[in-house]
Symmetry: D3
Subunit: 310 residues, 6 copies
């Protein structure tokens, strides 16, 4: 349903610049979802990099029931895949995502089960907690996740991208915290993460309370994204290049950095430092430090070093 | 006293652009404070929107004794007023506010009572806690508060606006964390909220430690305000329009959003998500979701929906 | 070693604009480290202002063993020096700092002692905790610290400046969170403080995970620094002027402000307010309030007031 | 209703030993509630001691609507009454309290208002928060509160006494966390405070999950009460004597102790110590230290010292 | 291995009083583990009560690899089983459990994999986190868990029982925090939960640092267990009776109580109250309140009420 | 002064049973303070055990200026002494300690310096923070500290022992939270640690608010001490035996246990578990696990194993 709404919105949105289809094809392994997934296409454009593509382009990548559980399986698998060092997330088709597929989810969200209000509430809470996990797995996965957004990123899409580590977008992208338009407070991450992701609280509140669109320029100046690209093709190239930079460095260093950055967000500086010291008392014993230092002395890039898998 | 200081500062401040008087009049219900208040003018420019105007224009809206308690009464009343869905705060006269009216407050702050240092301290602490409540009520009020600042926002004014949800200003506005100039560390909210409201800690520290003025452009680029308007008239229109957007949406969604955004600021992401799930297990059972979804399917704005009062 | 690497990098870095040597000389008391320090030059360019200069210019101010302990002694002394009200930190020579001097530190970091992994870890943890203190002392020192960065600020340099209160830089400065290049997660402060210092989490993650350089303009727009100066001479003047503004105000107000701003960063707003009230119940009893108010009434700057030492 | 249930329970409870009526009369100022209260009798058996008596003996002091708001008014007044240094709370009649008066409260709790589930929830939450305040005021009141329990302490009674500072009971007392018997999780304090008041978590869980009665001996050995008296008369004497000990000491010391003990419960040791230092930096400047030290040197009790009011 | 050690210890432990075999048989459904488990026997002695029996009696219920994952599956299933309202945990055979089965776990714990220290550490951390989950599932399961301990509860056994809600034991039981004897700090829960389960920190430290045995009497007086029974038969009866009391009450009340008790342990009182209010705003709308109140008015036990499943 | 008061109190205290002088002599290396200390006698009764004796017996071990700084030096040295694995603390002479030596401390505490109230407060706060450190070093020292108390433990003595890990006392000991008698709230640890050390909050409040004495039996039943001995001689033997048990076990296990127990006290269970896993990912790689396991298989005590120093 929401996808229907968005589609009609897109019709009105004249500025939409479609990315060249070749890029989309290039990035998805087989032009469609990858077994065992029906909504995600997984590929490995380069060694050590996993590309996760939201892939229901005909539905504007609206998040249906399958999506909410496939994301968990997908990122749990990535978390345990020693061959993967970085993840790139993008969306197939016209836009990144239209957000929750209300049509498909309606029975879950709009017709909750239970003998009385308490029992309906109990069941709803379990569902919400489960849906929250869909994006929290991105954060729990120790490999950095670069998300590349194009076209539009609506509702659940904002929940998704705020759980990623690095956000990129194309010049034609708009973002929308859509939930108040549907009569609910966003409950799968946007309200918790967006204020810790961008620096202007006034803007966060405005976006969440009015559901207005934010375009690429404001997304850049507010810090939601750290880079804007002219089109999807350039962005995907940029995302892969950035992912390559990360993948080329010591996974002990990179993944320890992600874990401690997230820990620091949720703790005082003193607590973050204590945890960091306890973390690094073992991690500094990695051979990667010696290997990296050696490369540096020889004026080689760390990317020339062969690091063991983690 | 502080208002005296500021007034002389304003004399020197050549760039001050006075808003057209018609706007000020239009916004205040009766051209002055509204019973039972002596420093606040309350009006209802549009259904569901409450406009609170700081209204001691001849004193540059300096915050006298009455103000500190009237704000608490006013926002407690608003919190309980089911007819109000959004609040707009602005200042009458030349500037938003000159901050604390030291002349009127001197006996409280400068001549504290008590038989010995401990007892004076005890009494001072009770006063500070009481004054802090003056602005914390804004945050505790579940209805979003849009503050529209013009001219100047000094000292206590910054404490006030950082407790609001959305900040707007005119091009001619300057902001000043004035307290160090009076020999004290700001103690009613600025030091606690400003760093969580704007994204540059270096700037926060500079403002608080040097008491320098910050003008509209820097306020915008730093994220203190999310929009700058050419003049007060345009700003008030803009504030009302924005308030209208918010007031037109489900109050269950809007007020739940405010409450959870504030909760998220003060907690880890994991704790924020847990609270959110517990909140929404009942709130998702609102009819507003169905009504909003129905409107969306019919391509109507959520503002066309008649939501029950909250 | 790292200094070697950086030096070669600088050779390639064509845009480096050297500050006039006269400024550097003017700022360091005797053209070199000040007894009892071998890596720091301490001077008092103006009453109440202490200037701490990283002073191993021939090594690009790389942080050797001596540096890590001298910083602690230096800031502990400053904390207890009633004649000092503000600190300015800068670097002698071509750049601010090349970061950790891996050559000198290698035995500590790369050849940790211990009979088994647990004991090596135990010893490493003690070292990390000790090194963290090198920058935490800046934060624990109640006097505001303004840091003026030029040329380059690499690795440990970012850990250092994020612990300062106000950050300034020259137009030719670049910043680099270097640690992942050496195979380790930054463990002396950057990962804990950088996300609380600038407003874009996407940018923080990008910098920490890719080790890319960030130049002055992005440092300014992201809020890492609050001012950019054309060259080092102008920056040092600007830093001293800003320090003078702070030093001229009540030390009770200024140092109470710093302490409470740091407390607020690590606590909820409610807890910060409670602490603030408890702090000010005594601090408001200072004569500085009366003196400052008196000056204000007489339209004098607070800088004309003679405040007692703190 | 609950009082009905309890009364029938009491009929079966053979061991109930009625306190001599003279004591009850002696303690309540006029043999009944004190204006402006209808459920509380306030008296001042000794200077500096306020006695608050739950006084609906014919209803077993069941907590009706009036009670929930009168407690707030009562303790707010006590908090501001410089003549009061300690509070003793007890119950008139056969038992301390039968807990919530469901009959009187039914419209509030059992027939909540609202147009849909979300709005009913919203209203219920406001009520719960208000009822929680009824007991939290005891904790927010800086004067120590000694509660003397006899006969039975049921449901809301446990919520009440866990918010007090010192708990005493008679040998014939039983305690009951009654809420699960009525189909609800205790929501006005027991679940939050009981585990922090007694040392056995297994016992806490057993009491809260089975609603079984706990008798005086187990209340003593588990630490719920710190003293058990043979009968109500002895207990009231004991409570007054203990209150006298407290009232005779410096109110700066005593009230600072209560505030910091409660702060410590809710914070880490490091945070508690920091708050304590900030608290005492002013409070140590009281004349009470000198007066108390002087008395000690002269081998006099601190109770002989005349301390200023606080 | 540890089981070997313990067995020899038991040989020396003369006081061991074997429970009658009939009880053990009665409680385990089929005299052995229940499909799909190899270490757990699951039965339903009474409607709504699930009995989980550690069932490797020939190995003294030592915790082998299968056990660590079967517990997670088992309690996840129980959490989702609407027919279960309470869980009883006990051990088959001579003792409750000898703790970790080091022989079976050796490859995991003693021979960790990885190319260097950092990678070994990384893998070990994942294992520890996984093992911690084995007992945390007990806490995350909203149904109360009563654990009935007999004979001996060693090492991992203490980790297990401190995650349960109510602890019972026989007179012949001893408890031992065994880990320091094996050269490691307990890392799956004892150090985190034991201090919050019993009231004497001195005792907790003594037990954890010396690995001395604690017998039933001290377990009772310190609050580790809330009841001691003469033998296993009596204890199982008692456990079932207590479980029956809990199972007979409203599951909305009971499970909400467990969830909020655990929340309260880990939060300040103010935060616990806030969460509680948000929880109960929906849960109070259960029909169970009406049904329970009705029963109470009719002087019936809540156990006579038919509550809907949760 | 306080020592004077206490001495006269002791004169009245008839029950005082003096320990045999031979024990005291045996325990202190040279019958008096050990260079460089004037208030502490340090000895090494057994390898790996350090005995710290409060040693101003003629002043009842009252805590004078020297004591407050010597404790810090002493425990910092112990923390870094690889030959020490456990610490025993006791008092020389008639009683454990009379608490703060007000006579000697008067200039610090009673005559604080500063030009105005704020500056006096500032200086007082620094002193309090310094004095708090005197006992916090005990907690920061990773070696377990067993404290053996005899006779009396007053005021500062309670602050001291609550920072120790295990508390023992003789039958003739009384404890007194003395501070309210001197007109101040205890500010060096008692209010923060006592409630987390014993399980009855009612008792904690009673002790802190009335300054009444608590005798050995209540200290045992409340959990303040975990063992009571008939006299000092037996207690010292018991303390050494217990210390020997701890010293004989793996220092990696023992010190990791202490550190994590303290961490757990100040954090939620989830956070404690996370820290524990991060701690043990390296510490489990110690050879001590293998050595301990080997000993266990051979039925030898862990005390027979030769562990490397830590």
């Amino acid at each position: 349903m929401l996808s229907v709404i968005v589609r009609s919105a897109l019709t009105k949105y004249r500025g939409l610049r479609l990315p060249s289809q070749s890029v989309v094809r290039a990035m998805s392994s087989s032009g469609g979802p990858t077994s065992p997934y029906t909504t995600l296409a997984i590929s490995h454009p380069v060694e050590s990099i996993t590309h996760v593509e939201l892939h229901r382009p005909e539905k504007l990548n609206a998040m249906n029931k399958a999506f909410w559980s496939e994301m968990v399986d997908c990122f749990n698998e990535i978390a345990g895949d020693a061959d993967c060092r970085v993840v790139v997330v993008s969306g197939a088709g016209k836009i990144f995502t239209a957000g929750i597929d209300l049509m498909d989810m309606a029975s879950d969200v709009l017709q909750p089960q239970g003998d009385d209000t308490a029992r309906i509430s109990w069941n709803l809470r379990q569902k919400i907690v489960k849906y929250q996990e869909t994006f929290s797995v991105i954060e729990k996965c120790p490999k950095p996740v670069v998300v590349a957004v194009h076209g539009a990123c609506i509702g659940g899409g904002v929940d998704l991208i705020t759980a990623c580590d690095i956000r990129l977008c194309t010049q034609d992208t708009w973002f929308q915290v859509k939930e108040v338009d549907i009569g609910l407070a966003a409950d799968v991450g946007t309200l918790q993460r967006l204020p810790k992701v961008i620096g202007s609280r006034s803007l966060v509140n405005e976006l969440a309370l009015t559901a207005r669109k934010m375009y690429a320029d404001e997304a850049k100046s507010s810090g939601l994204v750290s880079r804007v690209f002219p089109d999807k093709e350039a962005m995907i190239s940029g995302a892969l290049e950035m992912a390559g930079e990360i993948a080329g460095r010591s996974p002990v260093a990179v993944q320890g950095t992600k874990i401690n950055l997230i820990y620091a967000r949720d703790h005082s500086v003193a607590e973050g430092l204590d945890y960091m010291a306890t973390w690094n008392m073992s991690m500094l014993q990695t051979q990667d430090v010696m290997k990296s230092a050696q490369a540096a002395m020889e004026k080689k890039s760390p990317k020339t070093v062969a690091f063991s898998k983690l």
